[in-house]
Symmetry: D2
């Protein structure tokens, strides 16, 4: 079955846009910067550039492009991340040893694959190939976010703490509106449909397998905070000795916190020259905390978000409370990667919930697991999401380093509860209608 040219054309435009966005983000960085792998969660940026290209080569070109010449025989296993069904791959921690192939060759690889995809999209193209390209673009956007996340950590680890950008866009003067509680009350009998079952005929209507299938859940009335928790609110929690009060913490969180010596969010450092006593590392470099007080607190582990919620007398929302609000409130705005701020921004106030999208990934109290009826994609792509469904928590809404077009109400991100290198914060929730 061949698709209409207009669909392929539309996907081709997105392909160009998404692939271009990745390279635009890399512009201020050197080949040396792209070698750094500064924590177990991170990869060198050079690897991200190669791996996203590998994804198109492996899952699209090698299966659907006639006469495709693979760029380099070793790249097929070299840039595999974790797809065990495709064979062995290098250990993740070895990625920092990939000085060869040099960046130049990887850029050539990228050009080679881009041309072949372009070629495919301008000829008669199989519908499954189109689906795979759409998946590859979502994948690319995830890695673009990871690149922003990883280079922040790399520069933080570098004792000189270079800045990614000299631009000065982080809001520092606005005041966040007072926190209000917004009630959500599903109609009787309280059964709501969540997730999505993709319509086979709508190729561009993308969802990851972990968002599927659409299914029913009972949802009791609840309230959500109108905005995210701010740095100054989090500082009050710290000042209330929270990092030394075991009753506020999950047991696993307490142990982790002590083991790693946490006493503030990641990227906060004590600084006696700041009036707040703290300075915060951003992609613009260090900023005194007092200039960021009203911005959403960021780079929290789930354990810290959960402890804050307990301390505040409230709780984290479930991922379904978040999704229902996103569907009902249907907010249009967010602070995205494209805004170029690369840091969460102060809430603006107004009616109802804001900051649902962008700014920071919102930790929910929902462990990451498969929806009723969940089935992973067939073949190696089945390893994309499903095999991570243990000991992780769901986050919702995207962040200030997420590409805008990447997110939707049903989107589920997930991280182990002790990770903090991603742009993660929280919104409070409580039971019942007002």
């Amino acid at each position: 079955m061949l698709t209409e040219p207009t669909l392929a054309q539309s996907i081709r435009e997105r392909f160009i846009a998404v692939r271009g966005a990745t390279m635009r983000f890399m512009a201020p960085l050197t080949a040396e910067d792209m070698m750094v792998q500064s924590c177990a969660e991170a990869s060198p940026l050079k690897w991200h550039i190669a791996h996203t290209t590998w994804f198109f080569e492996t899952f699209v070109l090698s299966e659907f492009a006639e006469n495709y010449q693979e760029f380099h025989p070793d790249f097929r296993w070299l840039f595999n991340s974790y797809y065990k069904s495709l064979g062995d791959m290098p250990e993740k921690k070895l990625r920092a040893s990939f000085s060869r192939p040099p960046l130049d060759q990887i850029l050539e690889y990228r050009g080679h694959v881009d041309a072949a995809i372009n070629n495919l999209l301008t000829s008669s193209v199989n519908e499954e190939a189109l689906r795979r390209i759409v998946l590859g673009l979502q994948h690319e956007q995830q890695h673009l976010e990871l690149a922003a996340t990883d280079i922040k950590h790399a520069f933080f680890t570098n004792p000189l703490h270079p800045a990614y950008t000299e631009r000065d866009l982080i809001t520092t003067e606005a005041i966040a509106p007072p926190l209000e509680w917004i009630t959500f009350s599903p109609p009787a009998p309280g059964v709501v449909e969540f997730g999505v079952t993709p319509r086979a005929e709508e190729v561009e209507e993308f969802a990851f397998d972990n968002e599927t299938p659409a299914h029913k859940r009972f949802l009791a009335p609840y309230r959500l905070a109108s905005r995210l928790v701010t740095c100054s609110e989090y500082l009050a929690f710290m000042d209330d000795d929270a990092y030394r009060r075991p009753e506020l913490w999950l047991s696993e969180g307490w142990d982790r916190m002590r083991e790693e010596g946490w006493e503030a969010p990641l990227y906060w450092r004590r600084d006696t020259s700041a009036s707040s006593g703290w300075t915060v590392f951003t992609l613009e470099g260090w900023r005194p905390l007092e200039t960021l007080s009203e911005t959403p607190v960021c780079h929290l582990s789930f354990f810290e978000a959960d402890a804050f919620a307990r301390w505040s007398g409230h709780r984290l929302p479930t991922e379904f409370e978040w999704e229902y609000a996103a569907v009902v409130a249907n907010p249009a705005e967010g602070n995205w990667l494209e805004d170029g701020i690369l840091h969460p921004a102060v809430a603006q106030g107004g009616v109802g919930v804001e900051q649902l999208y962008g700014d920071v990934w919102e930790w929910t109290q929902s462990p990451y697991s498969g929806y009723p009826g969940y089935a992973p994609l067939p073949g190696a792509l089945g390893e994309y999401n499903g095999k991570f469904m243990s000991s992780q928590m769901v986050l919702r809404g995207g962040s200030c380093v997420t590409p805008e077009a990447h997110i939707r109400a049903t989107y589920r991100n997930f991280f182990a509860p002790g990770t903090r290198w991603q742009f993660s914060g929280l919104r409070l929730a409580r039971d019942g209608a007002e």
Copy 2:
């Protein structure tokens, strides 16, 4: 408010029964046996004897018994397990250094506290004290199960592999009935109440805080296997090379399995003299696997249970699917600690689901978290359950080393997904009505 004598009397009888059961279990063991702590999950049995006594002294006698003389000033912190609000406690791994106080003194401590509780229960006693005693008995039953679990591991670790008992009660000849699928289909609109909200006036109607409150959930039709998975079924999974096929495993499970070198359930050892090629350690000592083929497989991690389910083409049930079945089917029987077999027994066949209770704890696919509206008990007792609500999975139904009176349909057990020392197995589930 004083309670009627009959309630206190009834609780006094349970107190005597439950406390006696603990000591009866210890009868074949020496003071030296009770010193062993053979893995991070386990404690020495001597410690269990002391800690359960400590629980009554700390949460009942010191608060509610007039003129109570504490047995020893150091015992208040020495035998605290993990209640951080009560102050510091010794590290868990140090419990193996408690050669002093000697067992004799701990037995004296136990007598002292038993007498004081008896005294309290035969005088005018506060209702909250009664609640605490009921909680203390549930706590004691949990530790009796842990004692059985821990001594099995201790004897397995001892290179001589002594047996706990010379009795020969483990069923070895019966044949398990064929597996059938039993359909459960909640009436429209599919909203079912789970958990329980305790009635304040019914002191003996006990539930842990993690079973509360009663709350609604949507439940779609599903089918449960009529019995537990057997050793011979599990052997087929192993023989299908399952421990070397990454596509069957959660990523975290695969890594853990490789790291710890799992190739069979815990307590299975290769043995060329057995026709099955395996021998299994039980509380009766080693048994060739072929004599246990039809018994439920036991001492699986969640990762193994989950991989088996995936391999079989089915899935693990949710904890709510289990609970609904337990309520609807209302099964009366189980293989409990009191049966003295101390190993899972072969299913007997019949109509509907069997083995829901006893035999093995059934891993569910439900991560352990708080129910909507969940609130921990006030004070130090709030640390009993709530602080463990991360990175653990729910198990249901009790095991062959659980005291019968301990379990109910709403009971939630929980362990980290990689633990195997407890008596844990699985039952299969699948979507939809037949």
Copy 3:
């Protein structure tokens, strides 16, 4: 070749004395105490009792006693410590799981072996058998010292910190004499013979293989401190901020010290109720440091001894400087296990060097390696000493928990430089004659 009855008789008397000393040391301890293994270096005392018996069974009875009936077939591998040529053995850390065999059975084992050795020694006995028995007695004495060392650590680890003895023998009031420098100046050309080459015909003239063979070394003139370094001298080092001054430490020592949080010798704890600010754990329980100020400092790692020497402007002696002094000065006295103090005692003053023997093992600056021409014993006994000749340092002179008859001028003890659980201290040295 058969030996004369008088030699066998003499060895039989020593056998009875040495074996009896072990059991006398155990008298105040319970079977539970003998289960504890509180650090990687230590073993449960029950294991020491069994292993020393195993040594006689394995290396004497099974080879030289006609018709010897072994006590239990499993004991041959169960109580092997580290002799790999004899086959596999349990991992050292599992010794704490040996609740079975019970202590009673091990005592029976001991009686069985004692009777068989007695029998052998009262019949015609092979000379090699006698040599092995003499070796076994030296081995037993080493394990008696280890038992004292291990139970001290076990009781220190127990949060109740029980005392081994209620006797009150630790000297607390004497004053150590001022430190003097004693010159040693070997005659020209400075070549001295060290170590010993055993005379085959003198069976009782025992030396471990690591003390052999006699060989020459050049030794330049040097001075030794007249006595050991005291606690008050060590406190001055601590008060001079020594644990925070990297220039005083070997690099490996600095890292180890930081990693393990050392800020004083092992067994010292801060105590604001003591005028010195410190309290010290002994086999008599806690003692305020001010009552021990003049006693030799004890339970130091090599790194601490070395740092102290550097701080003082002097150095540690070589093992040969110690040995030459021991031969020349030929001191007769020492504070030994038999004295029952079980703690280093204050120096008494007088002419020349004192405290060379007993009190504390003296760290030397000599790495532990084989002497020129060194050859291990043949067979499994070759594993006794030789295989540990890397990354360890030599200590000389015995300690307050060494049996008096165990030591000689050529005796070489050895430990890894970071260990502190043994009774180890130091004596200063410097170059040149006065």
Copy 4:
């Protein structure tokens, strides 16, 4: 005191030569290559370039060059390796995060410092400054060797295994002469002087502090193998099951070998396409072992060298046996870095001992410690050698990646006994004259 121009001039020439050699070695490498840090022992090559420059800035220019402008204020702590007296420094493992400063800036730094040293050396220069420059050049040569060692490991870690050079210089066809025993017998009374006491007035007569002072030792007659042990000899050891025979190994070595899974020297990999069954990674890439059989075996730990010696019935030499032979035999030749082979070469045969210098560092049986009368340099430079004098072994003679001018008979290298990434092999020794 001012020195004569001729001395400064001579040092200036060496400065230019040595600094140039470092940069020549880097020529085939990219900035990305110089980012890799592939094991705990290694550093990125970019760091070596910066650190050797830092050494001159810190120890020469900042103390002795009037009006010297430091290149960058952060570099003073950023490129400090381990001199704690100079203040804090970044953790070693963070060096892989130094994408900034970029290589270009580090080359600029290098140029800046080179110019300043040149300036100093062409003006009136203090004698102590000259000594420091000479020390800095020795330091630079050590880091040049480390750079060769580290890039070999980096390329081995890279899954593509790139070659450093395409040149094909590794000897593969020559046959090593039969091993002969060469006797060395010091004249009576056997007292020989070792080490060196530098003459203050001879600035260029350099020795590290660990080679000082000259001192006497007794040395008994001994024999040395005429050449190094070859790969084919080592293969015989492997084929004799040596990696599975505990009696051949030091206990620490056995444990380390099992823990790390050694079954051959580092850089050997099983390869069924090679007739020998092995292939070996070199700086020229992979070479089948059969083409290297006659070359000296390389990249052994001390434990492997020691086990080989034991297996062969001989032993490792002491460092003094090596030094005496080097002084007496006074060999002139060696396979050095300047030869460009970058791999040990086949022995050529002839009279007496050969390969004493170059090819591979020879493990000795001597633990690394200070000579009698040893005193470290004053100030921060005292940290250069002295603080590593524990748990390391001495190696002698230099290797095929050592600059020729760097070595002398008294030179002592040292590594922990388990390290294998350096070019280390062995020569056999035995007691007595023929």
